[in-house]
């Protein structure tokens, strides 16, 4: 039997069931030493209290409020407000007019017809035609830049709308 008292860590390990089998000497000491038994008892009492599952009660309507919040979120993400639809519509019109203004329609028509003729070809051929389409459209750097700007604006709007939807969900709750 060991004469030294158990450390707090060893007593906690003992209560957790983690005291290694080679520490049998410590266990024997624990059985006979009043001081260590007292500490063990204090920890035992603390463990009892830490297991008390009280004071964590949610309100009776909790479950229903989560489910109704979920319903609202589903509804708000699938519907847009009038202002948001107007903004999106305006952006679409701007994009359409810009395309009409810049695109060389004669060469565009030719390329489209060529693509239709070669529709039976493999994906690789289609990819080749798409590259050809881009080449023959005579895209100016200005047009590419403008297309980039439009895409960025659309992305920004998308982000704003999604953010707003999340805000709405929070407000509802």
């Amino acid at each position: 039997m060991t004469s030294r008292h158990l450390t707090d860590e060893e007593i906690q390990d003992y209560l957790d069931g983690n005291l290694q089998s080679e520490n049998r000497l410590l266990e024997e000491h624990l059985q006979t030493c009043q001081l260590c038994q007292n500490t063990l008892e204090e920890y035992n009492r603390l463990y009892e209290e830490l297991k008390v599952d009280e004071g964590f009660e949610l309100s009776p309507g909790f479950l229903e409020s989560v489910l109704s919040r979920l319903k609202k979120e589903k509804a708000s993400t699938s519907s847009l407000s009038l202002a948001e639809i107007l903004i999106l519509g305006m952006m679409a019109i701007v994009a359409l007019f810009t395309t009409i203004y810049f695109v060389n329609w004669a060469s565009f028509g030719q390329v489209i017809s060529r693509i239709l003729i070669s529709e039976a070809k493999t994906l690789l051929t289609i990819w080749g035609n798409s590259v050809k389409l881009l080449m023959e459209l005579n895209l100016s750097p200005d047009l590419l830049f403008l297309a980039g700007v439009i895409l960025l604006i659309i992305k920004l709007l998308d982000y704003l709308i999604i953010n707003r939807s999340h805000q709405l969900v929070k407000n509802h709750s």
């Binding site: 204090e42 920890y43 830490l50 297991k51 979920l70």
Partner: protein, 207 residues
Amino acid sequence: MKKLQHFTYSNCLYYMEEIMAESDSLISRILSGDTRAFRILIEENQRLVSHIVFRMVPNRSDREDLCQEVLMKVYQNLSSFKYGSKLSSWIAKIAYNSCIDFLKKNKKHHLKIIPFERADPKDLIEKTLSPDEFTKRGEIRIYLKREVEKMPPNFCAILTLFHLEEMSYAEISEIMQLPEGTVKSYLFRARKLLKDRLTSKYQREEI
């Protein structure tokens, strides 16, 4: 004896696999739009969420909102749940991270050194206690509850996951993204601190 251990271990594995298969099928049902399945998920896990949130967030009025927030996040992120892993650990991780984010955002209002709203004694006193036991045991219970609430949030989380949820060091380490050694050391320190406070306030006979 060895045979018995082997049998128990296999049984354990078998039940773990069964539990995981059940949660996998529950998640598949929720993802296919079955709201009743989500109701079951909430019923089975709301206690786990409230244990973590109530222990980590001091202000009572914020707790239930945060529990709702956690369950909404669970729903929104269900598609990223890895089938075959433990659902309760995954939910506990979301709850723990949500509490940490909440406490960071509301640092000014929820500094733990400021005495916050005290727990309602009615919530804490076990109905099974006899009138004689009630006074001292109830008092000790309230005292300890308050001392736990004063602790840093990660100590509170570890105490909850280990003692109330009966999770292993490995599970807690996965949830809190801490090495197992750190989890063990925090747990030991937290319990020693609580035991010392308990013994400095009460006589051994009273405890």
